[in-house]
């Protein structure tokens, strides 16, 4: 039987797409990675179908590229398929399987979006851990698998968070459950016994979920996961914190991070904040011009017991730190309200994705560093941008402390008009220059998309060699998203 017929047997004919429009749609994204068309797009509806597909692919050496979000725009090139391969679109596997208020966890399938999860969790007095204003179609599971940082560093204990455990179909076609979801026995029996499936480690001496996270679908395809949730706040006091010096704001953030104070906490420049808050593209530049150059967003929340008292003591502590580091705690800056931003963080606008609002296109450069190194990187990027004729006042900066402040996701957003060929080329050159230059300054590409994989792995031969050996175990025929990372 031909491959196509076998695929149709597994997922059903209506769930195999090969029309030119669909192939075109899945062949590209907003990144500078060259488009490539798949042979088919398969839309499985269950874990069982995914497993059968992977087994077939392993036997017949069909490259598979998993995609979970039910729609674009996509950004990093990681879902652009291998030529002639099959896109496994998991967006139709989209149930919230179980909400556990007691243990503050949720059991979700790959196609669940943040909006869907938010409204489901709300019924149980919980909320999801949000990244910075994800697009409407963003899969929660993909976001967590790809180490997209969450806004609350206090709740981000470890790189894995908020991802706890998962079911994964390895490239061999074997299904495996990670951490405390592994056993003893089937998942429904574990849950019936009172398990939370919230311990990511193991089973035994290996942290299998760590081999799946950050792998861009090269190790296995995740069919469900158990993730952390947060109690729904009963009161929230959001603030903008401003200072004449970025360094003072960083010291203020360190003081909070050390004491695990505050909930949402991050640093942005005026242009990033303007893009996040302005309703119309034409307002962005004027909003940015009125704002201070650097702003920390701090939200202090109270939960079920003594919420006012909790907020009060943290506010008083935060005020003391603000005074110590010569910062101001404000409810609004130049007409922009901290409450308005908080609302957008909780319920991202349903219209255009915030990074595309200004010019229609955006290329990000992001990596890990530590908070105290942010000024050095910013200085380098601003100077380099200017040298390339890119206005530093039109460059978004977002610094998100992660792992409780042990490290920091630092992101530079290069907005451009994708229809303007010259502008696109200019930004592409700047992007490539920055990618290499930032690595030379110590930027660590923990999520190495596109050209960053070459930069990251070229500098670390031993890790690369070992990762290739591990990949051979879980995907011996190299069918899962081939050509990514160092594989």
């Amino acid at each position: 039987m031909a491959q196509e017929a076998k695929l149709r047997n597994i997922v059903g004919s209506p769930n195999i797409l090969d029309d030119p429009e669909s192939l075109e749609e899945y062949s590209k994204d907003m990144s500078f990675v060259e488009p490539r068309k798949p042979s088919y797009i398969a839309k499985p509806k269950s874990s069982d179908q995914v497993q059968k597909m992977v087994k077939l692919a392993s036997e017949e050496l069909i490259p598979l590229t998993p995609v979970s979000s039910p729609g674009g725009p996509r950004f990093h090139g990681d879902t652009i398929p291998y030529p002639g391969g099959v896109v496994v679109d998991l967006s139709g596997i989209d149930r919230v399987l179980r909400v556990d208020r007691h243990n503050k966890t949720v059991h979700i399938e790959p196609g669940v979006t943040f909006e869907q999860l938010r409204s489901e969790l709300r019924k149980s007095g919980l909320k999801p851990f949000m990244p910075l204003m994800p697009r409407q179609t963003k899969s929660v599971l993909t976001s967590y698998l790809e180490r997209n940082p969450i806004l609350s560093p206090r709740h981000h204990w470890d790189t894995l968070d908020p991802l706890y455990t998962a079911e994964v179909i390895f490239g061999t076609g074997d299904a495996f459950r990670t951490g405390s979801a592994a056993g003893p026995g089937p998942t429904d029996e574990l849950l019936a016994a009172g398990a939370s499936l919230s311990a990511p480690m193991g089973p035994g001496p290996t942290d299998y979920v760590r081999l799946i996270q950050g792998a861009q679908g090269t190790m296995g395809i995740v069919t469900w996961a158990v993730c952390a949730c947060c109690l729904l706040p009963t009161i929230q006091h959001p603030y903008f914190v401003t200072s004449a010096e970025m360094e003072s704001l960083i010291e203020f953030m360190y003081a909070l991070l050390r004491r695990r104070h505050g909930d949402e906490l991050f640093l942005v420049n005026s242009f990033a904040l303007a893009n996040a808050i302005a309703d119309k593209p034409e307002d962005i530049k004027s909003v940015a011009a009125d704002l201070p150059p650097w702003i920390v967003f701090l939200n202090i929340a109270g939960y079920e017991k003594f919420p006012e008292e909790r907020v009060a003591y943290q506010e008083e502590d935060a005020s003391e730190f603000a005074k110590q580091y010569k910062c101001k705690l404000l409810h609004s800056v130049d007409g922009v309200s901290s409450s308005a931003l908080l609302k957008r963080l909780e319920e991202p606008p349903k219209d255009v994705y915030w990074k595309l609002k200004f010019k229609g296109g955006c290329e990000d450069v992001f990596f890990l560093t530590t908070l105290n190194k942010v000024p050095e990187f910013v200085d380098y990027v601003y100077k380099t941008a200017v040298a390339y004729g890119y206005a530093s006042t039109e460059l978004g900066v977002y610094a998100q402390p992660i792992v409780q402040g042990t490290s920091c996701h630092l992101e530079f957003d290069l907005m451009y008009n994708p229809e303007d060929v010259r502008e696109r080329e200019k930004v592409k050159k700047l992007y490539l220059h920055l990618s290499e230059g930032l690595a030379n300054l110590g930027a660590f590409y923990t999520r190495p998309y596109g050209v960053w994989s070459d930069i990251a792995y070229r500098r670390d031969a031993e890790t690369t060699a070992l990762l290739r050996k591990i990949k051979k175990i879980f995907d011996p025929n190299d069918i899962l998203n081939p050509g990514r990372l160092c594989f």
Partner: protein, 516 residues
């Protein structure tokens, strides 16, 4: 099976004659371990001695030693500060790399809250240095004498401050790792000389290094690691009370220990969930009533003398201990408000700690149990103890295990189980471990210890109580085989990983896994 002269001389050439020995007077000391009776017939002495003990002084020397092992087909095992039988060699023909010369605290990054250490840095030593900078270590239950690196990279990591600082397997950041081939891997940002993360680029090798348990040197030697630290809101140099062996800590005004009792496990559990939902406390813990007497005294005679004076409330079976450490007095007051409300709401009652003899015991108990635990004191009553249950799972599962364990132990000659465990990361997961004490010099007691351990292992599987702690701590091939069918067949993958990392099977993997 003696080491060949050629191999010995090659090792000697690396470390110098003063740093290698095969004298039984030396090697014997590395086989005198606890937990021996649960795995072997003997009382304390593991049945195998290292063929030689080698003391490397640097990562380069470790790499050279491992390469020599490859050349002469000699198996090796790394040893830092040791604690139980899984730390020593598991068979014949294995040399031991005692890493005691690699004992530097390389860096404490005050701002970004992590320390970079070599294998022989003890937890108490790092804690003393960290406190000066307003930081604190997740000192594990096994004690302040244990290795920070071993606890982070290779096994265990449970400790009283888990709810606020986390489990050490999750606190691990960058790692320097000598593979069994002699290659040196630096994980995450450590490859670029920074230690702030151990994950990436892409899939994380940290997943291979360490899971719930660790490889116990079964896939090479870790020579440096970074471990995440917590905030220490106490004085830079805490004021000590008393004299050895009963040194206490004079609690500053923003520190306070509370102990409360509930009528049953269910109401205790209710309180446990509520306290952790409110995210209060440096430590939220449950331990058996014997804990105070055991940890706040220096000798068994002291226990006997103290016991009649203790109020009945402190010996209650359904008890939580909450140690509050406010970053400010405002925070302490808030946390006290929450705690009092939860205790009242769930039918609990506080144990008065401001009257003698408990008043004098509190500073010692905080020092020896909460901040820098001294689990060595657990050996005192019987000379040995075994451990059971203790999976990383929900508190409901932990309590279910305690209920089952309390019934199972009745037919065994141990006088009950001593429970200790609590929350990690504000109750993301928990661990409640059941220790039983016994006389390791009595062959019948040793036999009973093995029998009880086996019975609990089966009960854990039958009742769906997570991954048993005994298999996490010192898994044998037999245990892996038993667990495999009900735990997603994990040993099949583990064997492949071992084979990929250690193709010649040179790293002693008696307590890890044999390759495919």
């Amino acid at each position: 099976m003696a080491l060949s002269r050629d191999a010995y001389q090659a090792l000697e050439a690396i470390v110098g004659p003063e740093n290698i020995s095969e004298d039984p007077a030396i090697t014997l000391g590395y086989s005198y371990m606890n937990f021996v009776p649960v795995l072997y017939e003997s009382a304390r002495l593991a049945p195998f001695l290292p063929e030689a003990v080698v003391l490397p002084g640097s990562t380069k020397q470790v790499s050279e030693i491992v390469k020599v092992c490859g050349r002469y087909k000699v198996r090796f095992k790394a040893f830092s500060l040791g604690w139980n039988v899984a730390a020593t060699v598991g068979g014949e023909g294995v040399i031991l790399l005692d890493l005691r010369r690699m004992d530097r605290i390389i860096d404490i990054d005050d701002k970004n809250m992590y320390a970079v250490v070599e294998p022989w840095v003890r937890m108490a030593e790092l804690e003393a240095e960290a406190e000066k900078l307003g930081l604190t270590v997740q000192v594990i239950g096994a004690g302040g004498g244990c290795s920070v690196l071993a606890s982070s990279t290779s096994g265990w990591g449970y400790g009283m401050k888990g709810t606020s600082i986390g489990h050490n397997c999750r606190n691990l950041l960058g790692v320097e790792w000598v593979l069994p081939t002699g290659s040196i891997v630096r994980t995450g940002s450590a490859s670029a000389g920074a230690w702030f993360t151990g994950d990436g680029p892409g899939p994380s090798l940290r997943g291979v290094i360490r899971g719930w348990s660790g490889a116990l040197s079964g896939h090479g030697v870790f020579t440096k690691c970074a471990s995440k630290l917590g905030h220490w809101p106490g004085p830079a140099q805490p004021e000590r009370t008393g004299e050895l062996p009963n040194i206490g800590m004079n609690l500053p005004e923003n520190f306070k220990l509370y102990i409360a009792n509930w009528p049953d496990y269910d109401r205790l559990s209710d309180a446990f969930y509520k306290i952790n939902d409110c995210e209060i406390g440096m430590s939220v813990w449950s331990s058996s009533p014997a804990a105070v007497t055991l940890f706040a005294t220096g000798t068994n005679n002291e226990i006997l003398k103290l016991a009649p004076q203790l109020p009945r409330e402190i010996l209650h079976p359904f008890q939580l201990q909450v140690f509050l450490a406010g970053n400010s007095m405002r925070q302490l007051k808030y946390e006290e408000l929450v705690l009092r409300d939860v205790v009242a709401d769930t039918g609990g009652e506080f144990v008065p700690l401001d009257e003698e003899p408990l008043k004098s015991l509190v500073p010692i108990y905080v020092m020896y149990f909460v901040l820098t635990p001294t689990m060595a004191r657990t050996f005192r009553p019987g000379g040995e103890f075994g451990t059971t249950f203790g999976a990383a799972e929900s508190w409901d599962i932990s309590i279910k295990g305690a209920k089952i364990g309390n019934e199972l132990v009745k037919k065994w000659p141990f006088g009950g189980i001593g429970w200790w465990g609590g929350a990690y990361q504000r109750n993301q997961f928990t661990h409640l471990e059941g220790a039983f004490m016994y006389d390791h010099t009595d062959p019948e007691q040793r036999k009973a210890a093995r029998g009880f351990s086996d019975e609990v292992l089966k009960a854990v599987i039958e009742n769906k109580l997570g991954f048993p702690i005994i298999a996490a701590g010192a898994a044998t091939e037999e245990m892996h085989e038993m667990l495999s069918p009900t735990y997603s067949n994990y040993p099949l993958w583990l064997k492949k990983i071992k084979k990929a990392i250690d193709p010649d099977n040179l790293a002693d993997s008696t307590f890890y896994i044999e390759p495919e």
